[in-house]
């Protein structure tokens, strides 16, 4: 196997190396890739879509259909993880651990047991519980709003600067994952339960597809945002710009929630009880 792997890799590398001398030089502005289709985007995207970030314009408009499926791919990955990992069966008989905050004593309550009386002083903990760390918790609490704000900025400002729905969505998702890591999974699940997360993901993709269908119903081609002009009361160019924003929001919603769901399933091996 080792030899086979080496031979395959070397043969393959040889094939690639064989072709490389015929490549245009790196950074050559006269290469076909830079002269055939791409100049159109560079020169016309602003006039066509009123979006200065050409990548966003191409991503969400000229090749918006690709991006729709890109979002669908992410959604499919979320579904796939759910399908493969999620534990649907009856929960195994489990004991729950509680910690008495003032004393630090840990209680194990078996199936069917009740909490002690003054339960406000108890908190539920994971079986692999790491002692309370003030710095991480506080820093987490502190940083989190800024990350989320930044994520929203990235989504909203994707027209003018690097970023867009996908990046913003991932950052927002990462913020939630960070919350789960710095606190525990239960608190994240409390804010964004599994079902809600996946429904929002589906709704996110539906916003994208729905925009496309809306264009189609309004007489344009699928995803031809210019058709939205009448509905939005703006000229076709601005309609494209708004259309791009709409789908970016859809992408952001889908990506955020799918990332979080993926984390839920992977970190708990599908049981959705205790995180890392």
């Amino acid at each position: 196997m080792r030899r086979l792997g080496l031979i395959t890799a070397v043969l393959f590398g040889g094939l690639l190396a064989y072709a490389t001398p015929d490549f245009p030089d790196w950074g050559d502005p006269r290469s076909p890739a830079s002269t055939h289709v791409s100049p159109y985007y560079i020169q016309n995207s602003l006039a066509d879509t009123a979006v200065p970030n050409i990548v966003t314009a191409v991503l969400a408009d000229y090749r918006g259909y690709d991006t729709m499926f890109e979002t669908t791919v992410i959604f499919a990955a979320g579904l796939a993880c759910l399908f493969l990992l999620r534990n649907f069966g009856p929960r195994a008989v489990e004991s729950r651990l509680y910690r008495h905050r003032p004393t630090g004593i840990t209680l194990r309550i078996e199936q069917g047991g009740d909490l002690p009386e003054n339960s406000a002083e108890f908190e539920r903990i994971d079986s692999q519980w790491v002692p309370y760390d003030l710095i991480i918790r506080c820093a987490g609490r502190l940083v989190l709003p800024f990350i989320q704000l930044f994520a929203l900025y990235v989504v909203a400002h994707g027209h003018h600067s690097p970023g867009g729905g996908f990046q913003g969505g991932v950052i927002f998702g990462a913020a939630l994952i960070f919350y789960a890591l710095s606190h525990d999974l239960r608190s994240t699940l409390g804010h964004l339960p599994e079902a809600r997360s996946l429904i929002v993901a589906a709704v996110g993709v539906l916003i994208y597809v729905g925009t496309g269908v809306l264009c189609l119903l309004l007489g344009g081609a699928f995803l031809d945002y210019a058709a939205l002009a009448g509905l939005l009361g703006v000229d076709p160019v601005m309609a494209r710009s708004h259309g791009i924003l709409m789908v970016e929001i859809g992408v952001a919603l889908a990506v955020t929630t799918v990332m979080v769901s993926l984390y839920y399933y992977l970190a708990t091996a599908g049981r959705l009880d205790e995180g890392l």
Binding site: M1, R2, L4, G5, L6, T8, A9, V10, F12, G13, A17, T20, P21, F23, D25, W26, G27, D28, P29, S31, A33, S34, T35, V37, S38, P39, Y41, I42, Q43, N44, S45, L46, A47, P52, N53, I54, V55, V58, R63, D66, T67, E70, V73, I74, A76, A77, G78, A80, C81, L84, L85, H160, S161, P162, F166, L262, Y265, L266, A269, G270
Partner: protein, 131 residues
């Protein structure tokens, strides 16, 4: 001869690196027996391709594909002045695809570990043969 070689090496440095990375990834996927290692190899392979595409996009002396200030007409925007945006768009999609594949692959690996208690390929094969 030597000069040609150096010219070839320098002018296409990124392309050579991507070939190396691609071979490393492929080699890792074939040779490594641990499933997580194979998944890492798979990701290296995918990022190598992304590097290749990004290298296509670059243009000497051009700036980012974002139009910061522009005149009234489209004529003022010069194609040579901006990096080719198309490969970037494609690669955004490719990254997403890569992370989606990663998620599914890890999920499968976890299922395998749940069923067999190991991630080593030879041990898995031995167990399959036993049953």
């Amino acid at each position: 001869m030597w000069d040609d070689f150096v010219r070839l090496a320098v002018a296409k440095a990124n392309y050579w690196i991507y070939i190396v990375l691609m071979c490393i990834g492929l080699w890792g996927m074939i040779v490594k027996g641990n499933l997580v290692k194979k998944i890492i190899g798979m990701n290296i392979l995918q990022t190598a391709i992304i590097l290749f595409y990004v290298s296509i996009a670059s243009k000497a002396g051009a700036t980012l594909p974002i139009i910061t200030h522009h005149g009234p007409g489209t004529d003022s925007i010069q194609a040579v002045g901006h990096i080719n945006p198309l490969p970037h768009v494609l690669m955004l999609t490719a990254i997403v695809v890569a992370v989606a594949t990663l998620g599914v692959a890890l999920a499968l690996a976890m299922r395998i570990h749940r069923d067999y208690g190991t991630l080593e390929e030879d041990e898995l094969l031995a167990m399959m043969r036993e049953k």
